[in-house]
């Protein structure tokens, strides 16, 4: 009887074939919580600092719990960022090229997955090359050309490359669609072909509906990547369109335009709480997007089967 209890205790603590055991579980959760904290630390730091009033910032006793609810930093950051306008232009410059890019990449991916033709391997190498070539190796001639046609500071400077499959990180999306179409059975398409459907009809009516998960994943990922991209947007859009990240990188300057340093009292000077409020306002739309589409983000690679075999 005693032996039975010992066995029972042992399997409770150290696990058996169906269960991991208590010791292992505690260790696992402790590790995951520790790593999770390290991951979230910058965000927590940012959020809590952004809620601190100027007197809390100066008080070394106040570390993690602000002494009062203070929204003044956000009011200032909201004005400095010119939030409604920059938010709208950020949404536009990330959503429109993403939608176009997804459609074009699906066409290219379908062509690569369904038809045999000479030079396909070269094409794949070139597609990978577009992923590797750094932006600064191609951006200056593009900028000069756009300047000649008056497209600088215009959303067209982002739409045009996306329209021909050269948008931001297009190569990844082409590969996603390639994998998706490769894994689809050909039977339906062949049946449709026998019924006299043209290639375009087959693509639109049969292939596209089955690739809807790939579309959703491509669009949300490329929206996020366009949103966060600042190198190209600064060069192409500066002077015409102001996106949120662009405005954030000019935060100090914009703040001093609104609140000139010599004229405001000490509590209205620029401090780290205001800066971090601006940063938080910057990522807030992305956080919302992430929590709404969370499943699509974390299951994306399982769904599309991209592991590159």
């Amino acid at each position: 009887m005693e032996r039975f209890y010992q066995e029972h205790l042992k399997s409770f603590l150290f696990g058996n074939r169906t269960d991991y055991g208590l010791v292992f579980k505690i260790a696992l959760y402790l590790l995951l919580i520790a790593i999770g904290f390290v991951y979230l630390y910058p965000l927590l730091f940012m959020f809590i600092t952004s809620m601190k009033s100027p007197s809390d910032l100066l008080n070394p006793m106040v570390q993690w719990v602000p002494s009062e609810f203070y929204a003044g930093n956000y009011e200032k950051a909201f004005r400095v960022l010119d939030y409604p306008n920059t938010l709208l232009s950020s949404v536009l410059i990330s959503l429109i090229p993403s939608l176009i890019q997804a459609v074009v990449c699906s066409l290219v991916g379908y062509g690569l997955a369904r038809f045999k033709f000479w030079g396909k391997n070269i094409l794949f190498i070139l597609i990978l090359a577009t992923f590797i070539i750094p932006a600064q190796n191609t951006v200056i001639p593009q900028m000069l050309t756009y300047r000649n046609y008056g497209l600088l500071g215009n959303i067209w400077s982002l739409i045009l490359p996306a329209l021909v499959g050269q948008g931001f990180k297009s190569a990844i999306f082409i590969l996603i669609f390639y994998q998706t179409f490769m894994s689809l059975p050909k039977v339906l398409e062949e049946a449709a072909r026998l019924d006299g459907a043209t290639n375009m009809q087959i693509f639109v009516r049969i292939a596209l509906p089955t690739a809807i998960p790939a579309f959703i994943i491509s669009i949300i990922f490329s929206t996020v990547w366009y949103w966060n991209e600042t190198y190209l947007t600064v060069i192409f859009l500066e002077g015409g369109i102001q996106t949120l990240p662009m405005q954030l990188s000019k935060f100090v300057q914009a703040y001093e335009n609104l609140y000139p340093p010599g004229t405001v009292n000490i509590f209205d000077r620029l401090n780290e709480a205001v800066k971090l409020s601006g940063t938080f306002l910057n990522i807030l739309p992305l956080l919302l997007l992430y929590f709404v589409f969370q499943k699509w983000f974390v299951e994306s690679i399982e769904r599309t089967g991209i592991t590159g075999e």
């Binding site: 999770g36 630390y41 593009q142 499959g165 990240p245 662009m246 990522i283 992305l286 991209i306 592991t307």
Partner: protein, 296 residues
């Protein structure tokens, strides 16, 4: 016109027809590649072997052959130093990202409660890492491991290290979280390839008396070798294209400089591209499972 008629009436051989259909789908990409990638790339190369002067109407080119390149490599102390720092930082970051994302992926491959919450946390950085955001966080000291980077013990430890080790270790300590933040997509790629390993292989190994430790080295790690290569390449490219990268910032700042300007920055872009390709090549040869077998 005859050609299209023949196409419609199926008088052209099947293979040719299929190839034509294929080209019609990818043609848009080929056109785009020529206009938006190849042509600018060649033009940037021309700039790099010229002295470029921007005028009100356009630009004028004066051929200087390789002067821009030799200036970047031999005269400009900043560029070479930044380039070396970039290589060191990348070589430090890549193994950390790989090991870390592999460990996290193996945790997430286990069955336990609240897995979804942890998955959400580990993937969050993918959404929010943009240049200005990272810059704000770094300048406020939010990206170093809390309490470690500033302590006196660590400062003392750093001064004891030989010079060539000090910078990488210091970078590691001050930007640890930042490095981890670049492992989101890699975790997903590892996770999906872990899920593809056949469970029965582990069972067979366990019956033969293999411990969990042994099955990790003998089964898990070899199955992940291709994935590791892909992740390494992905990591290098993401780090190298990140807009807060010091080399990129320097090249960008030189574009508008009075001395050199576009020509000089184009030459630096090509040197940077060359180093990037070199790094990718080294990692590819080092990690490729096929090239490793030759040594056995």
């Amino acid at each position: 016109m005859n050609f299209f008629k023949a196409l419609r009436n199926k008088e052209i051989k099947h293979g040719t027809r299929e190839a034509l259909y294929g080209y019609s789908f990818v043609m848009i990409w080929i056109i785009g590649f020529s206009i938006f990638t190849l042509a600018p790339l060649v033009e940037t190369f021309f700039y790099s072997i010229n002295q470029v002067t921007v005028t009100a109407t356009g630009i004028t080119l004066d051929p200087v052959r390789w002067a821009n390149y030799s200036r970047a490599l031999f005269t400009d102390p900043t560029f070479v130093e930044l380039l070396i720092t970039y290589v060191i930082k990348t070589l430090v970051s890549v193994p950390i990202v790989l090991i870390f994302s592999m460990i996290i992926a193996m945790f997430l491959n286990l069955k336990f409660r609240f897995k979804g919450i942890f998955r959400t946390i580990f993937f969050l950085p993918v959404v929010i890492t943009s240049g200005p955001v990272i810059q704000e966080l770094t300048s406020q000291g939010a990206t170093s491991v809390p309490g470690i980077a500033n302590s006196a013990v660590i400062a003392e430890f750093l001064t004891q290290l030989p010079r060539y080790l000090r910078n990488p270790v210091e970078y590691l300590l001050t930007s640890f979280i930042l490095i981890l933040w670049f492992s989101g997509v890699q975790i997903l790629i590892y996770l999906s390839s872990l899920q593809k390993i056949d469970k029965s292989v582990y069972e067979a190994a366990a019956i033969d008396g293999a411990s969990a430790w042994e099955s990790f080295w003998k089964i898990t790690l070899p199955s992940l070798s291709t994935t590791t290569l892909i992740n390494a390449i992905y990591t290098i490219i993401t780090l190298s294209h990140f807009s807060e990268n010091e080399v990129i910032k320097y090249i960008y700042s030189q574009t508008y400089a009075v001395q050199g300007g576009i020509g000089y920055s184009s030459a630096m872009s090509f040197l940077y591209f060359f180093v990037l390709v070199l790094l990718l090549g080294i990692v590819y040869l080092g990690l490729n499972p096929r090239s490793q077998k030759k040594f056995d």
